[in-house]
């Protein structure tokens, strides 16, 4: 059992299917999705909008219930994993509470999960440091820029002990320069915390820069068309994006996206 659990993937999806029943008829959001995500992986989901990236992430988070197939998270059902607080989830919008300071916002999950007061304070200062927001704990969200707010929301997802971090286009609403900077920081953070990360994006450079594994998806019905293991080293300065290896991976992703498109 112990040997099995160390080798078992964090996320294991087999023939996962999800059909939404809508007023305009059924929407086949996920079809026959098979995927393993191992501990410490940085996995990006890329594809045109409507291909089910968000839906798949929400299935892992047990915010949606698949209509077919099996899905295990940390060896349990997704719902059990959610109740065990197995993951932190970062939404596209920061969604900080305007009536709480940044520190108090980060304490929100800690309060809910019943961490002690002193532990809360310790963790808040740790994660503020981690996302480079030390000194901003006493500020209210409206006093921070969009990028800082999003970093605060990442800190909020890091504050409690979850080995899995799920991020749905967390930098989608930010400009390119801020985005580059945050991507760099995210990689450092991933290296330091050794978390498993699932990351949704529709930017090819972002996906290639960040990931150890890139999952290319295509729509109608939402499915996986390619899974690319990145040959890039774990250590990645920003200018790695100009290397031939990087460009080659990016090319393969683009091909995968195009293939997904051509057959509809």
């Amino acid at each position: 059992m112990t040997t099995e659990s160390t080798t078992q993937p964090v996320i294991k999806a087999r023939q996962l299917d999800l059909t939404f029943q809508t007023n305009d008829g059924p929407v086949h959001a996920l079809k026959d999705v098979n995927l393993d995500i191992n501990k410490g992986d940085f996995v990006s989901f890329i594809g045109p909008s409507g291909c089910g990236k968000t839906t798949f992430l929400r299935c892992i988070a047990a915010l949606e219930t698949p209509t077919g197939g099996t899905l295990s998270v940390n060896g349990m059902s997704a719902d059990e994993a959610r109740r065990n607080r197995a993951y932190g989830y970062v939404f596209q919008a920061a969604g900080l509470y305007p009536w709480r300071t940044i520190s108090k916002n980060i304490k929100l999950p800690l309060e809910i999960m019943g961490y002690s007061k002193s532990d809360q304070d310790k963790r808040v200062s740790e994660v503020l440091e981690l996302v480079d927001l030390a000194g901003f704990g006493g500020k209210y969200p409206w006093q921070l820029s969009g990028g800082m707010q999003q970093r605060a929301s990442i800190a909020r997802a890091l504050a409690f002990d979850a080995d899995l971090l799920l991020m749905d286009e967390p930098f989608g609403a930010l400009d390119e320069i801020v985005r580059d900077h945050l991507n760099e920081q995210l990689l450092q953070l991933w290296a330091r915390t050794n978390k498993t990360i699932g990351f949704v994006t529709h930017s090819i450079p972002e996906a290639v820069y960040l990931s150890t594994k890139i999952v290319v998806m295509s729509p109608r019905p939402g499915r996986i068309t390619d899974v690319i293991e990145s040959p890039l080293p774990k250590e990645r300065p920003l200018d790695i994006r100009d290397t031939p290896e990087f460009i080659e991976v990016a090319h393969r992703v683009r091909e995968g996206l195009r293939a997904g498109h051509s057959d509809d």
């Binding site: 915010l63 959610r82 607080r85 009536w99 809910i112």
Partner: protein
């Protein structure tokens, strides 16, 4: 500075229109009095005058215009008459006097505040129930809406009679009517406020496996505060109306409603108008006070910058 000037101009225009309106409203009564006092009035026949237009009378008897602002029992009292009456019955009278508007105002205010407290409490409780239970949403909300379609003036006497028959009188029936009017805006506002967190906020709490009560205290309740205060301002004004209406059918001897009633029994229009203004001023003060509390609370919460 410019806006103060604009505000003063508006007030001046309103007062000028009011004075102007007093002339046609009161001219007939003034002419009757003048004739009785021996003045020469055109046309001399009271019967002819009764069927004449006011404008014609004013043109024929321009000497009588100033008197239209000084009548003891005018149809429409002039602004300074109301102001003088307000002054005399507030500053000029001991608070314990039965003629003090402060005393009457307090009688109404106490019923208003009690009713407001009951109405607000009830409104919040109902809203919490409605938001958390589909059954309550479907069963309570329609009744709450229907309750507000019944004219309060028709309902108030029934409430008072029913409560009287079970031995409840005094401030309570007034407070009940007051609560009846004020709970509704609070229910509507609080339901909207408690439901204001969006899908993402609720999903976020689900990712923490937060309980319903944690969701309520940490998200729904704080998010509803701006909505609550907007409702409270409407609610307190409605409470005051309720308390005044509650004084009318009982022939109460104290309260602003009683002053209105007594004024109309005895044709004391000046008294009616000063009681009306006292009620309006009281309502304005209550709303302003709530606005102040709102600013303080939201500022402490960090929402208002």
């Amino acid at each position: 500075m410019k806006s103060i000037l604009a505000v003063l101009t508006v007030i001046a225009v309103i007062i000028a229109l009011w004075y102007a309106a007093c002339v046609p409203m009161n001219i007939k009564g003034v002419l009757v009095e003048a004739e009785r006092a021996g003045a020469e009035v055109q046309p001399p026949s009271a019967k002819v005058r009764r069927d004449m237009g006011e404008i014609g009378l004013i043109i024929d008897n321009s000497f009588a215009i100033p008197a239209t602002w000084e009548q003891a029992r005018p149809r429409l009292p002039a602004p300074h008459q109301v102001a003088t009456e307000l002054w005399n019955t507030t500053v000029g009278k001991k608070i314990t006097s039965k003629r003090s508007l402060i005393y009457h105002g307090w009688v109404t205010l106490s019923a208003t505040l009690l009713g407001f407290a009951i109405g607000t409490g009830l409104g919040i409780l109902l809203a919490v129930g409605i938001v958390h239970s589909r059954v309550m949403d479907m069963s309570v909300m329609p009744w709450a809406i229907v309750s507000q379609t019944i004219p309060i003036i028709a309902l108030a006497p029934m409430i008072i009679v029913v409560l009287y028959s079970v031995g409840v009188q005094g401030i309570i029936p007034k407070a009940v009517i007051s609560a009846y009017l004020s709970f509704f805006p609070v229910v509507v506002g609080m339901v909207k406020g408690l439901r204001s967190p969006d899908h993402m906020q609720l999903d976020l709490l689900r990712t923490y496996s937060a309980s319903q009560s944690q969701g309520f205290w940490k998200l729904r309740l704080p998010a509803s505060m701006p909505y609550l205060f907007a409702s409270l301002k409407i609610g307190i004004a409605a409470s005051l109306v309720g308390a005044i209406v509650g004084e009318l059918p009982t022939g109460a001897v104290a309260g602003l409603g009683a002053r209105l009633l007594a004024g109309s029994y005895y044709g004391q229009t000046v008294q009616i108008w000063s009681a009306l203004f006292a009620a309006a001023i009281l309502a304005a003060c209550l709303v302003a006070l709530l606005g102040l509390i709102e600013r303080m609370v939201l500022k402490r919460m960090g929402i208002a910058s």
